[in-house]
């Protein structure tokens, strides 16, 4: 009271290192203005290697056809659709951070929203590849769009959720791209103002003549809010419709009403795991620890814990209702998941998605860089298993035992999956070189409320007023063993950077 900012003394800083506005500009712009680091070059070479190998597999798929995969009569959807759903899910974190967390006024979003939104766009591109090539004749891919044509009465099937996917994902991609770019405009202008020569001309074009006038900011804020409003239902709708691909069927294990919200929760779950994987590497390599702090990482781990628990609730509900329904085919589908030929993927899914994320209840683990990185990989594996369980396990044991089958991917299918990894990381690495990975303008916006120097003053005022001692995790509390691991890692980080 009386000091101008009204922030609870327990709030942890979101910008550390007593940054000034100028420091923020310098720190975040510099990676895009320097020659690439060795780590970046190695990363790029590995990614391009994957693109080259996977690209060959992709060409073989297109040249030879789907026969180059190991799909068979019984299992018509294998790794392709598994990967498609997996990548689409990854994208969801970006939209959630940019749209829903904006509407909820969550300030920690500012540290990670830019990279997460970029990740969304790249993930959707990777996802879209799979249904595209699964058509077999990719040169006829435009048939999926409904338009008056010369093929007679041949229209798309409006009753099919696969067509709804086309609409949902293309809308999603468009809105995500607009949202991302809207946020980038002021930051491109910052880069422009610091650049010279050709770079200046390029950033000048990209920043649409941004001057930072009050009117510009007003329109920028307004557009962001409108796009957030549009993107919020999209977070729900995209994975809802992906879940419809399965749930509208009469296949036991696919047809269940909980699918839409549970797919959405799973998507956010895996998306945040991927954000963690990327952020933990990016903040280190690009020296952004003051902007993507342990507090950001902890907040995202809490979302992973929440969504993982929701997903767990859905798994158990499905399992219970399968028994409760008294419907023998449904019961068989779940027995088959746990004890059939693909039992290992079911247990992998349960372990990675339901059990290990619960470790995040422990604060030490939630705030540990090592554990976060490790568990984020585990969650991504688990969510891949989930889609594989739903797709392959269910199809392998259909209504007719004579057509029961087993499926294992061919090297070509594995290669196509690797291609998407290569593509994803190539795009991300390019992005990290040409645009600010953290939203400069938005971080500046929260500095006065969440910068450590302001919060420390705020906390002192509170302590003076009430006589209550507030201990935050960032303070190196030596008598608390819980924080040792964290402190060591942080100290190491700093040492290496210096």
């Amino acid at each position: 009271m009386g000091h101008g900012i009204f922030v609870a003394p327990t709030r942890k800083p979101l910008v550390t290192g007593s940054k000034s506005y100028h420091d923020i500009t310098e720190d975040i712009c510099s990676p895009a203005e320097k020659a690439p680091s060795v780590a970046w070059v190695i990363g790029m070479l590995v990614s391009l290697g994957l693109v080259a190998f996977g690209g060959a597999c992709l060409l073989i798929t297109i040249w030879v056809g789907i026969g180059s995969w190991n799909l068979n009569r019984t299992i018509g959807w294998g790794w392709d659709i598994t990967n498609f759903v997996w990548w689409i899910g990854i994208g969801h974190a970006g939209t959630l951070i940019s749209a829903i967390l904006l509407l909820f006024r969550q300030k920690w979003r500012t540290g990670v929203n830019r990279a997460a939104e970029a990740m969304t766009i790249f993930a959707v591109i990777c996802a879209a590849l799979f249904p595209g090539i699964h058509m077999g004749r990719i040169w006829l891919a435009f048939f999926i769009f409904p338009y008056p044509n010369t093929r007679g009465p041949l229209w798309v099937n409006f009753n099919s959720p696969l067509l709804w996917d086309v609409f949902a994902i293309s809308t999603y991609f468009t809105v995500s791209l607009l949202f991302w770019y809207t946020g980038l405009v002021p930051d491109f202008a910052t880069l422009r103002d610091r650049a010279k020569g050709m770079r200046k001309r390029i950033y000048s074009f990209l920043s649409f003549g941004w001057t930072g006038s009050a009117k510009h900011w007003q329109r920028h804020e307004y557009l962001s809010l409108v796009l957030a409003g549009l993107a919020t239902p999209l977070v729900l709708s995209v994975h809802t419709i992906v879940s419809f691909d399965f749930a509208t069927s009469v296949i036991p294990g696919w047809h269940t009403t909980i699918f839409p919200p549970y797919f959405v929760a799973g998507a956010i779950f895996s998306g945040f795991a991927m954000v963690q994987t990327l952020m933990i590497v990016s903040r280190k390599v690009m020296n952004l620890q003051d902007y993507i702090t342990i507090t950001h990482i902890e907040a995202m781990n809490k979302i992973i814990l929440l969504t993982g628990t929701i997903v767990g609730c859905a798994y158990l509900t499905e399992l219970f209702i399968a028994w409760y329904s008294g419907y023998i085919y449904e019961q068989f589908a779940f027995m088959n998941r746990a004890m059939g030929p693909y039992w290992w993927s079911y247990f992998g899914m349960m372990l990675c998605n339901v059990i290990t994320p619960q470790l995040f209840w422990i604060k030490k683990i939630r705030r540990s860089i090592f554990w976060t990185f490790f568990l984020s990989i585990v969650v991504n594996i688990g969510m891949w298993f989930e889609r594989f369980v739903i797709i392959a396990t269910t199809l392998a044991r259909d209504y007719l035992p004579s057509s029961w089958s087993y499926y294992w991917p061919s090297i070509i299918e594995i290669g196509v999956y690797l291609f998407t990894f290569g593509l994803f990381f190539t795009l991300y690495l390019i992005f990290s070189r040409v645009a600010p990975v953290v939203a400069i303008a938005e971080v500046k916006h929260i500095l006065k409320y969440n910068g450590d120097q302001y919060l420390a003053k705020n906390r002192e005022d509170y302590e003076a007023k009430t006589g209550v001692k507030v201990v935050l995790d960032e303070d190196k509390v030596t008598d608390d063993p819980n924080y040792e691991v964290d402190d060591q890692i942080d100290a190491n980080d700093l040492d290496e950077n210096n």
Binding site: L103, T257, C313, V468
Partner: protein, 452 residues
């Protein structure tokens, strides 16, 4: 005014409501002799208000873990709303006792004769039985009550003790409750509500019903805040807070609709007889409930609250909140009553014809792999009507004309008033027992300066 006073006038009002409830209940039981109507109303209102108290506690716990601060200025209102829980759980135990004593036939699975002739009910009997119903209600209800009192105690302790003791303890309590309380709520909804349609199942059901509770809770909060502000309390509760409650009302109404649509659409699309029977019954025989549900709970809040400005207008908020609160009460009505009527038909049918058509039918249904063309006409047969009874359904909306089951009559509104009176009495009493402002809450300053 930092201390709420439960005035004599308010007491008279809540007692009048309770009196109306008691009176209509007695009329229903003794003048009309309609035990089924009384008990289904009792269950309906109990589940509805227990849900509101559960969700109030759930929101408080979620806010604690999410480090949310803006609600602090009125968080005592949610605390007071959660205080109804013990009474609600006692009422549920009375219903449980009623199952044992044979006071009512709300649950088809509780009828031993039906179970003996019905393979599905036999298959479900390890879950749907008296012991489970009783133990889950007692233990889970007890756990909820424990958490509610523990939260309240810690919150009140803070008023006299500055510091972070309560802040930290509540986080631990909330973590366990969000996890365990949330998971267990699914089981309670299956037992209390979904098992009324004992043959039917839907994995979405628990989440759907919980969303209905959630919207009711927010609507009730809006109404109470406007009322209490009108009386001069909560001067620091501003339009900014109202705006955020309005966003909740808007957003969660859409969320409820999303779950409604997902559940309905998937069942409609797959067209499996065992599942469609639930909606078929409601669309054919309770169309007003079925469509009204969507109009009141989706269209109305969606269009009225879409603009920012409407969320700040008290008159508009009162209008929407009353409709939506009532709308979700009606939602529970349509979840409960049609199933109760079906059970009544089953039992009446079984009483004069004991050949166990259920069992036979369900076997056939599985053998036939749900022939779609049959699914439609099987619906009623599947629920145990034979043809002679089924003829009655040829007439339009027979059930919707039956007061108390197809439509709430004066008895339903009376008993609703009674429960509302009791809920308000507990609410006002609880509100008056503590300071309205949690002075030492760490987020109070933030809450005072909240900007939506």
């Amino acid at each position: 005014m930092n201390q709420f006073t439960f005035t004599g006038k308010q007491k008279t009002f809540t007692f009048s409501l309770m009196f109306v409830g008691l009176l209509t209940a007695l009329i229903c039981l003794f003048m009309k002799g309609d035990g089924l109507r009384f008990w289904s109303n009792f269950l309906h209102n109990t589940v509805f208000f227990v849900g509101i108290s559960f969700i109030s506690l759930f929101i408080l716990c979620a806010k604690s873990l999410a480090y949310s601060g803006w609600q602090t200025v009125f968080k005592r209102v949610w605390e007071a709303m959660s205080l109804f829980m013990p009474i609600g759980v006692i009422f549920l135990l009375i219903i449980t006792l009623g199952i044992k004593m044979g006071w009512h036939d709300l649950y088809h699975w509780a009828d031993a004769d039906s179970v003996a002739h019905d393979k599905l009910l036999q298959a479900k009997s390890p879950f749907l039985n008296f012991t489970n119903y009783f133990l889950f209600t007692l233990i889970v209800g007890g756990y909820w009550i424990f958490t509610m009192y523990a939260y309240r105690r810690l919150s009140l302790r803070e008023d006299n003790n500055a510091g972070l003791y309560s802040f930290n303890k509540i986080k631990a309590l909330a973590g366990v409750f969000l996890f365990a309380g949330g998971y267990l709520a699914c089981i309670m909804i299956w037992l209390w509500v979904m098992s009324i349609d004992a043959h039917w199942y839907s994995t979405m059901f628990a989440w759907y019903s919980a969303a209905s509770w959630l919207v009711s809770t927010i609507a009730f909060t809006v109404l109470m805040m406007i009322y209490l502000q009108g009386k001069g309390y909560f001067p620091k509760f501003t339009d900014e807070h109202m705006h955020d409650l309005g966003k909740y009302l808007f957003g969660f109404s859409i969320f409820w609709t999303y779950l409604w649509f997902s559940q309905f659409m998937l069942i409609w699309y797959a067209n499996i007889g065992e599942e469609t029977t639930y909606f078929k019954l409601r669309i054919d025989e309770y169309p007003v409930l079925f469509y009204g549900n969507l109009v009141i709970n989706f269209l109305l809040p969606f269009f009225v609250l879409m603009r920012n400005s409407t969320k700040r207008k008290h008159g508009t908020m009162i209008f929407v909140a009353i409709f939506v609160f009532f709308g979700h009460w009606m939602d529970y009505f349509q979840m409960i009553k049609p199933g109760v009527v079906e059970t009544e038909h089953h039992l009446a049918h079984a009483a004069h014809d004991d050949h166990g058509s259920d069992t036979k039918h369900l076997d056939d249904a599985h053998k036939d792999e749900h022939k779609k063309e049959d699914a439609h006409k099987d619906d009623h047969a599947g629920d145990g009507h034979d043809d002679t009874h089924g003829d009655g359904h040829g007439d339009a909306h027979e059930e919707s004309l039956r007061w108390g089951f197809g439509m709430p009559g004066y008895i339903e509104f009376g008993m609703f008033a009674g429960f509302l009176g009791l809920f308000l009495f507990v609410f006002f009493t609880g509100l008056g027992r503590a300071s309205l402002t949690p002075e030492n809450d760490i987020y109070l300053d933030e809450s005072y300066h909240h900007h939506a």
